[in-house]
């Protein structure tokens, strides 16, 4: 909204401060001036305003002048609307309000023999400064009055009006061509200003085409009314018509304004010729007047002012005279009920004031927020941390230390991705008004977003990427949406980059498994295993590549899936690099408590290391070897680990060192006792038991193979 400082000053003869100071002081009192533009010598400034939605009273020049008068404690001139005398008429113009719940007041003035001409004088000058398009004196008059005092009015070509003015609900299906040239089909909830035959305009929103002012208009009916805010808002939304008028009416117009607005509009039109016929017609619905202009006074106590606002910068509560002065300047009438209690009658233009707290806000606002002290409250409560905060921290810390960078992805994904990545097939939650189809569903998984982010990097030649995201995933239906915290990890390219001192190496499945193990190690778990389902079971998610992916199970519950992105999916997304990714259910993980580290006694006796070089058929998984050796129950067996695994690329050829379908394993075991130094013969005994166990599993000594 644009405001002219010269126009404000016309209402404020006592205003001494500069335009810039005025703009600052208004802004600090909540009447925000966003920009000040100099209009040249003697023209003052143009203020670009940003008025909050509750302050419709300040969306015009007079309203802002009133604020300035309150701030500087200077007089505000009354709104002048000089009118010529009227010609007598036999009957006042007939006006009927048939919807008294939606229209609280309707004033009509009849102007005859008017001259429709371009605006001149002050109107033309101010329109030019405001860059407001001038149309004709009659139309400009209504716009000018809106800018002056904020009340929308309308001028009808009286000769097109048939009979009385009737304010009524529209007939369902009734059609009305509006000023913007569109024809609307109305519903019973739309309020119209009509004559005996037809609707003339959508009340408080926009006038009708048929009765609009044209260069040939001779006689005019000026409407200035008060319409119910909810009704105007519903019509405005229903017809997608946000007009200057609807903006004001739906925020609550001044119930006392119509006669003044009507007089101002009439005076401006008549300046170019014509006469006033009869007295103004003013139909008032008393019930609505009682709810608005004449609403009852509300109590205000100085104690409450102090209880809510605290101390001023001088260390005191606000004084009675100060409070009284601010309220009076805003147009309130104050009666003193007792020494510290008032009854405050509210101005008709401030429908936003209803309660004591509203008055306290006004007092604080006019005093200036920055004139209150900065204090710190004492507190009697206790402090609680979120139960999962420590766990979330641990997961994040481990991933960051492990070289994974945190990302935050989109909350939404496409329906096809939602179907594919949902944990329960085809259960996902669509949005009603998505920004686009690509983001039409609540994400059931973090992986579509993770894949999008990996692709984003690959498309920008960032080839080595390790990301994680911790965020909410959604499941359920549009009736009931469930949310749970989830962790996604995604990686591609090199895990370790080439360096002058060594060769780098690509990211592998085992890197992903390793970080999962590392994260898991922070939690207290009884059992933990990884398994791989054959594709045929249908248990492995479709986005994973069979044979290169795994499920993570903790204490009998699936915590996550991870592995290499399936070739199909990679192809579909045009991802040429191998992609590794996984998703982990943090809600399930967080059910486990954090592992409390416990120090173990360190052995003072030397450890004995033994290596076994064996060849196994491919059907033997490492886990079965490890399990078998643990089952030997050798108390002194400190650790068992694979040191080297060799698969012969040339297995099918004669030069091969290994049979087809076999691999060699260098296994390292460490024995150590807490009580004593181990004897050779006992180590030898264990060595033999281990070798035998490996042979039972189908293994053979490497050097004895050929």
């Amino acid at each position: 909204m644009k405001i002219l400082s010269s126009w404000l000053r016309a209402y404020l003869p006592g205003l001494q401060v500069s335009d810039r100071q005025l703009a600052d002081d208004l802004t600090l009192r909540g009447i925000a001036v966003e920009g000040v533009f100099d209009l040249g010598p003697r023209n003052g400034s143009l203020f670009e305003m940003d008025i909050t939605t509750n302050r419709v009273d300040a969306m015009n020049h007079y309203g802002i002048a009133r604020e300035a008068a309150a701030i500087y404690d200077i007089p505000l001139l009354p709104l002048a609307a000089p009118l010529p005398g009227s010609q007598p008429v036999k009957q006042p113009f007939p006006v009927r309000i048939e919807a008294p719940d939606l229209c609280g007041r309707f004033t009509a003035r009849v102007l005859r023999n008017v001259t429709i001409a371009p605006s001149s004088g002050q109107v033309a000058e101010r329109f030019a400064q405001l860059e407001q398009k001038a149309i004709s004196n009659a139309v400009d008059a209504t716009n000018y009055v809106t800018m002056a005092m904020g009340h929308p009015t309308h001028a009808f070509d009286l000769d097109k009006v048939e009979g009385s003015i009737v304010v009524r609900r529209a007939r369902p299906g009734e059609r009305l061509k509006l000023l913007d040239g569109t024809e609307r089909t109305l519903v019973a909830d739309d309020l119209v200003v009509a004559d005996e035959k037809k609707a003339l305009g959508l009340a408080g929103v926009m006038g009708g085409w048929d009765t609009m002012i044209t260069p040939g208009t001779k006689n005019i009916l000026v409407e200035a009314a008060w319409f119910d805010p909810g009704s105007v808002r519903r019509s405005s939304r229903r017809h997608k018509l946000h007009t200057d008028a609807s903006h004001r009416f739906e925020r609550g117009a001044d119930f006392a304004a119509p006669p003044v607005a009507s007089a101002m509009v009439s005076g401006l039109i008549l300046a170019a010729g014509g006469e006033l016929h009869g007295d103004p017609v003013d139909v008032v619905v008393p019930e609505i007047a009682a709810r608005t202009a004449e609403r009852p006074a509300i109590p205000l106590s100085l104690q409450e002012v102090a209880r809510i606002l605290g101390r001023t910068a001088e260390g005191k509560a606000l004084q009675a005279e100060t409070v009284e002065r601010y309220l009076a300047a805003l147009g309130c009438r104050i009666q003193t009920a007792s020494a510290a209690d008032y009854r405050v009658s509210l101005p008709s233009w401030r429908l936003d004031l209803e309660r004591e707290i509203d008055l306290i806000e006004e007092v604080a606002r006019l005093h200036g927020y920055n004139h209150f002290a900065n204090t710190l409250p004492s507190f009697s409560g206790s402090v609680v941390e979120l139960p999962s905060a420590g766990k979330e921290n641990l997961v994040r810390r481990k991933l960051l230390a492990g070289g994974y960078t945190e990302a935050v992805g989109s909350t939404f994904c496409s329906a096809s991705d939602a179907a594919k990545f949902s944990h329960q097939p085809n259960v996902h939650v669509p949005l009603g008004n998505p920004l686009s189809e690509e983001v039409g569903c609540l994400r059931p998984s973090l992986l579509p977003g993770m894949l999008a982010m990996l692709a984003h990097n690959l498309n920008r030649e960032a080839a080595d990427v390790r990301l994680f995201e911790m965020g909410t995933v959604f499941s359920g239906t549009t009736d009931r949406v469930q949310e749970r915290p989830s962790l996604a990890i995604g990686a591609t390219g090199f895990a370790i980059a080439d360096h002058p001192h060594f060769k780098g190496r690509p990211f592998t499945f085992y890197d992903l498994k390793g970080i999962a193990e590392e994260v898991l190690s922070g939690f207290a778990t009884r059992s933990l295993y990884f398994d791989a389902f054959p594709a045929a079971t249908g248990l492995m998610p479709v986005w994973l590549q069979p044979g290169r992916s795994a499920r993570l199970v903790v204490d009998g519950e699936t915590i996550g899936f991870f592995g290499q992105l399936s070739q199909d999916e990679a192809q579909r997304r045009k991802l040429r690099q191998e992609i590794f990714l996984g998703e982990f259910d943090l809600e399930r993980l967080y059910r486990h408590s954090l592992r409390e580290p416990a120090a173990q006694e360190l052995s003072r006796f030397p450890a004995v290391v033994r290596d076994f070089s064996f060849v196994f058929p491919e059907s033997i998984a490492w886990q079965s070897i490890a399990d078998r050796l643990r089952a030997l129950n050798i108390a002194e067996l400190r650790s068992v680990g694979p040191v080297e695994i060799f698969r012969d690329e040339k297995a099918a050829r004669k030069t091969a060192t290994l049979d087809t379908g076999h691999f060699s394993l260098l296994l390292r075991v460490v024995f150590q006792s807490h009580e004593r130094t181990l004897r050779d013969d006992e180590v030898q005994g264990w060595w033999e038991r281990i070798a035998a166990a490996l042979q039972q599993l189908g293994g053979a000594w490497r050097d004895k193979v050929r």
């Binding site: 509203d358 960051l400 549009t478």
Partner: protein, 364 residues
């Protein structure tokens, strides 16, 4: 090898004799240019049986009167330390000479462990939350999909109220058959958690709520349909507007440095009254005015206010303790994205949600 003569055990003579010896050590030490000579020097002076120090010591101590023995011992010790000092310096030097041949090019890049980078949003959010935790605030969270009731109605946004227009809401599909208050939407702010917190907990309450929020906004450099907020709520007896001012002034100084000033001016939020917007003095120019603050010297940073009595009315059925005649409180909310962008000089909000490692790794 001759043993120097000691004329008498008087202090002057001792001084002269040991001075001679020290000069001798010093002379020898200038000729130690190979490891062999160093070794010869060592044997010459410190050899266990034939070492010069040992032999002189034996000779001079033999005839020493008892009262001079202590002095002699001290002086021999000093001499020994001088010799050992020469040797250890030479040893170091020798090693250095040896390793020059195999010296590293220490200007080559170090092998840096590949750490992950914290996300600037998460880092900023944790920083803000931490500030309030130190001021005695608990931490709360709430759902990202909310009902119309919690997101709007309970916060004093009546149905059909113009204030709802300012928050373009993303809604869940197929809600039309439900009563308005039960309709599901993406929360447009973290404020619904105020209601959820008060429903679950009688006063006093001090809570800070970080979280993700959504609006139906087309993306550009400063807008994203996804963004983050930190919400705060403090309700107790005798909480005042000046407490709100003091709390946020303190928090902004913690976040941006003690030189930062705050100023408050009236604003409008349906769930607070009085409501305020808070500006901080520009962190780039210190308030003088620059491009970043549009030459105003101030940067708008957050919204806040005293909790509107209507909000207490929303929770009184469940928690009668929230009686607006007895308690009072304040609430505030700040955009984490904006703060992070300002702190780290990020010009495009979209980068925060891109997963672009070239961008993110700057925060490692």
């Amino acid at each position: 090898m001759t043993i120097p003569e000691l004329r008498s055990y008087t202090a002057d003579d001792l001084e002269a004799a040991f001075g001679e010896l020290a000069s001798e050590v010093h002379r020898d030490a200038t000729e130690l240019d190979t490891p062999d000579r160093v070794e010869a020097f060592r044997l010459h002076w410190l050899g266990r049986k034939q070492g010069r120090l040992k032999r002189i010591g034996d000779a001079w101590l033999k005839n020493a009167p008892p009262e001079a023995r202590k002095e002699l011992g001290i002086r021999f010790n000093q001499l020994k330390q001088q010799i050992e000092g020469v040797l250890s310096a030479e040893r170091l030097d020798g090693r250095n000479r040896e390793s020059v041949a195999e010296a590293l090019d220490i200007t080559l890049p170090g092998i840096r462990p590949a750490l992950g980078a914290e996300h600037p949003l998460i880092r900023t959010m944790q920083e803000i939350v931490g500030i309030f935790q130190r001021m005695g605030y608990s931490v709360g969270v709430g759902p990202e999909v909310e009902t119309d009731y919690y997101n709007f109605e309970a916060l004093n946004f009546p149905p059909n109220h113009p204030a709802r227009d300012t928050q373009d809401t993303l809604i869940v599909a197929r809600q039309e058959h439900k009563p308005l208050r039960d309709r599901l939407l993406m929360r447009t702010h973290t404020s619904p958690v105020q209601i959820r917190t008060m429903e679950n907990q009688p006063p006093p309450v001090r809570i800070v709520i970080p979280g993700k929020v959504h609006r139906n906004d087309a993306a550009d450099a400063t807008h994203s349909p996804i963004f983050h907020q930190v919400e705060g709520l403090c309700v107790d007896e005798n909480i005042t507007f000046s407490d709100l001012k003091g709390t946020l002034d303190h928090a902004m100084k913690e976040l941006f440095g003690s030189q930062v000033k705050t100023r408050f001016f009236p604003s409008f939020f349906p769930f607070t009254e009085p409501s305020a917007d808070v500006q901080i003095s520009c962190i780039f120019c210190g308030g003088k005015g620059c491009r970043k603050c549009k030459h105003s010297g101030w940067i708008e940073l957050l919204g806040c206010g005293m909790v509107d009595p209507a909000v207490y009315d929303s929770v009184r059925a469940k928690q009668p303790g929230y009686d607006p005649r007895k308690i009072s409180g304040f609430a505030f909310g700040m955009g984490v994205d904006r703060i992070a962008m300002m702190k780290y000089g990020i010009s495009d909000i979209g980068l925060l949600y891109s997963g672009d490692v070239r961008f993110l790794e700057q925060f490692a």
